[in-house]
């Protein structure tokens, strides 16, 4: 493979177990990351993957008997300080950057700025520039992080993690860094990772996107039910095998059969103009699943908020189920029959401190004759909706925050089904959801489509778009540049139009 042989780096974990109140979440799990390689860690929710990372980060103590080595030296598992001292660095999904501060500040904050206590901005900026140059990152050191693109931010987070030098790096752990990145942006990140590998860095890469495993990783480890079930070079297995190993059973219809599309136009958008969106027009038919693709900033991620009534319209009109609208706010959007499922499930899509039942019923609260809202009746009414979407567990009184990502998403879909939405508009519907959960969400969307609704989903996951959507619209520079369907709908075509058109 041509890596630089480097005695420094690499991770070995043995016999890592973790029990939470009598429940074994990890059972003698092992992990072996060879120095100077990129190693993927995959597993469904409940596999113990997140717990393993948290133990490595020092957030949890493992049960006794666990042993770990970084760069060949034993480390104390369950201690944040020990992990840091051993050279383990993390980039979590939220990137940990200070959005309102500059690139330079993010790279140099909390460092000893020499002997003086005077914060020397220029010295910081120079140090930052040197770091950026070292890793070939073309960023302006003075630019504010919130102005950067998604890929740039992710790469900045990586450089920030390794800012004390590759010689001091034992292991770089990236926890689902590509959640909001399009294919091209992911490609940029991967270039950086390959460069780091070439310089001897060891990388542990956690992801739900299996195509990434094959694109970037040298080896992959699969966790299931708390222990390791597979550890193999990526060259020796294929995607189907990987999926089956993760889920533990053969998955025949991973992507469900598409529903029949009727010719009735359900939703029509004309000359829609708004932030990042310029005069976009398209139609959606009843029973159709329409995908939206495009790089960050292309308008792909801006269409959904316009349809949801969250972003302001400068121009354009929407026709849905025979009614015409020239502006929308969340309230009128819901009345028009649009059900919005935002990408930020926790912050915007749901109220985490409320129960599943309360989240389910919020847009249309049940109240019989008088004004009295009976909790018992509300609970009874909720159960069939939760069942229809196979929410696990079917517990209306559970706190919403305790459900898995996939189940949370299903509750939100149930919410809109219950209100009778005709058009579901979703932003990154399976972001942060594991393989099995994704399949369930697709099924729920297809079920909604079969019932006559239409689905509009924006996604950076080209495989997902290709497999679930009847048509995909590709955006570039705020405009619609391609409408792909049938044989013309391929990941390659999507990519092609995303860049060049």
């Amino acid at each position: 493979m041509g890596q630089v042989a480097n005695p420094k780096g690499g991770l070995r974990l043995e016999n890592v177990s973790k029990t939470f109140s009598g429940r074994r979440v990890l059972a003698d799990a092992d992990l072996d990351v060879a120095a100077g390689t990129i190693h993927a860690l995959v597993g469904a929710n409940g596999s113990g993957k997140s717990t393993l990372i948290k133990i490595l980060a020092g957030y949890h103590d493992p049960d006794s008997g666990a042993r770990g080595w970084v760069s060949g030296e034993p480390i104390d598992l369950g201690s944040h300080a020990a992990a840091t001292a051993a050279g383990v660095r993390f980039v979590h999904q939220d990137l940990g950057l200070l959005a309102d501060m500059s690139v330079a500040e993010n790279l140099t904050l909390d460092e000893e700025s020499g002997a003086s206590w005077w914060v020397a901005n220029r010295a910081d900026a120079n140090r930052a520039r040197a770091l950026l140059r070292d890793y070939d990152l073309e960023l302006d050191a003075n630019e504010t992080v919130s102005e950067l693109g998604a890929a740039e931010r992710t790469m900045l987070a990586v450089v920030r993690a390794i800012r004390d030098g590759l010689d001091n790096l034992g292991l770089l752990v990236l926890d689902e860094p590509t959640g909001t990145l399009s294919n091209q942006e992911t490609g940029q990140l991967f270039e950086l990772l390959r460069a780091l590998r070439g310089r001897g860095a060891s990388v542990l890469f956690v992801t739900h996107r299996l195509e990434e495993v094959f694109e970037i990783a040298d080896r992959v480890t699969v966790l299931r039910d708390g222990h390791k079930v597979l550890d193999a070079p990526t060259a020796e297995i294929d995607e189907e095998q990987l999926v089956e190993t993760i889920v533990g059973r053969p998955l025949e219809d991973f992507y469900p059969d598409p529903p029949p599309v009727n010719r009735e136009v359900l939703l029509e958008v004309k000359d829609l103009t708004g932030p990042n969106v310029e005069s976009v027009s398209f139609l959606v038919h009843g029973g159709e699943i329409l995908g939206l693709a495009g790089l960050t900033g292309s308008g792909r991620e801006s269409i959904i908020p316009l349809l949801a009534g969250v972003a302001p319209w400068s121009a354009g009109e929407l026709q849905i189920a025979g009614r015409r609208y020239t502006r929308l706010n969340p309230h009128t959007a819901i009345e028009a029959g649009l059900g919005y499922v935002p990408a930020d499930r926790k912050g915007l899509g749901s109220i985490a401190e409320m129960t599943v039942r309360e989240n389910l019923t919020l847009p249309r609260l049940p109240a019989r004759s008088s004004r009295w809202l009976s909790l018992r009746e509300e609970r009874k009414e909720s159960v069939p909706w939760l069942e229809q979407l196979a929410v696990q567990p079917n517990a209306p009184e559970a706190l919403f925050a305790t459900l898995s990502g996939g189940n949370q998403q299903r509750v939100i879909l149930a919410r809109w089904l219950r209100v009778g939405s005709r058009a579901f508009v979703l932003d990154e519907p399976t972001q942060g959801v594991d393989v099995a959960g994704k399949a369930d969400i697709y099924e729920a969307l297809v079920a909604a489509a079969r019932a006559g609704a239409c689905v509009v989903m924006a996604s950076t996951d080209a495989d997902e778009l290709m497999a679930t959507c009847d048509r995909v619209l590709v955006f570039r520079s705020g405009r619609l540049c391609a409408d792909l369907s049938g044989d013309g709908l391929t990941a390659h075509a999507i990519s092609h139009h995303e860049h060049r058109g």
Binding site: Y59, H80, G349, I351, L362, P393, T402
Partner: protein
Amino acid sequence: MKFSLGDILNRFSGLFLWAAFILLFALWVPDTFLTLGTAQSIASTQAVTGLAAMGVVCAMAGGAFDLSFAGVLGLSSTIGASLMGRSDVSPALAIVVCLLMGLGVGAFNGFLVTKVRISSVVATLGVSSLLLAADSYITNSQYITGIPKSFTSLVESKPLEIPIATIYLLVAALVVWAFLEHSRPGRRLYATGMNIDAARLAGVRTDRMTFISLVLSGGFSALAGLVLLAQIGSGTPNVGAGYLLPVFAAVFLGATQVKPGRYNVWGTILAIYLLATGVQGLQLAGGQFWVNDAFNGAALLVAVSFASLTARRRRATPVDGHEEREVNDSTATDPPQLQGEG
């Protein structure tokens, strides 16, 4: 619904604590504490605190801090006294005017928060200053006398030995409880308070909810001021200030009881009587007047710390036994200092 022993201990810990206080003071100062008079005294003085707290619970449920409630309470008492004592206005009319004042201040607060977009803390803080000024102007820093018997008699009766003011409080509590927990606007109010953006996206008219929560707070505070005026029998300058701490302490402590994690009516009522019993007991046992502030202050801190810890534990304990939280949960990136599951 789970009703495990642990659950009951957690949700009703205040009740047990209250029983413990009663036992403690019954043993410590039996002659003065364990009397009907003491019980009635606690009950009737807390009626005012309780009525104001009902308003503040509504505001907090809707996500708004109403720091002006004490000013409304005081000004309502002052305006009532001035109208009845100086201008011979009938009690009925005075009551109406004071309530309108309270609702009006609440509406002004609501306007500042929803239209001018000032945070509720800043807006109500500013308004409370204005109310204090108005209070000083009207009272001229002196007591206002001449309140008619027809008004003060409204709080004198004791049906079944329970002071009527306490009955007023219980009725108010029932109304607010029914509103918050068993009505559609009440649910929307809670949603607004818990996550205003998500609530908006679910179709809740959050500005309207915030506005309503502040109007309710103003209204109940004005009512509390009137009850206080009837109890004291004269208009007292800046009489509301002393209620700021006990009411907020009770509302925060109440959020750990009965329905932990939410500002709720019965938890607040429990907290009010718990705190009042503690303070009264200590005063009877020889404590000085500062016992009031010390006790309420300490209770506030304990309540908020307790609430913070239990909220984190509750979020960390999954329902069906799987460790289902996604790694991008914000606590995963907190520095590891929380021992516990999840």
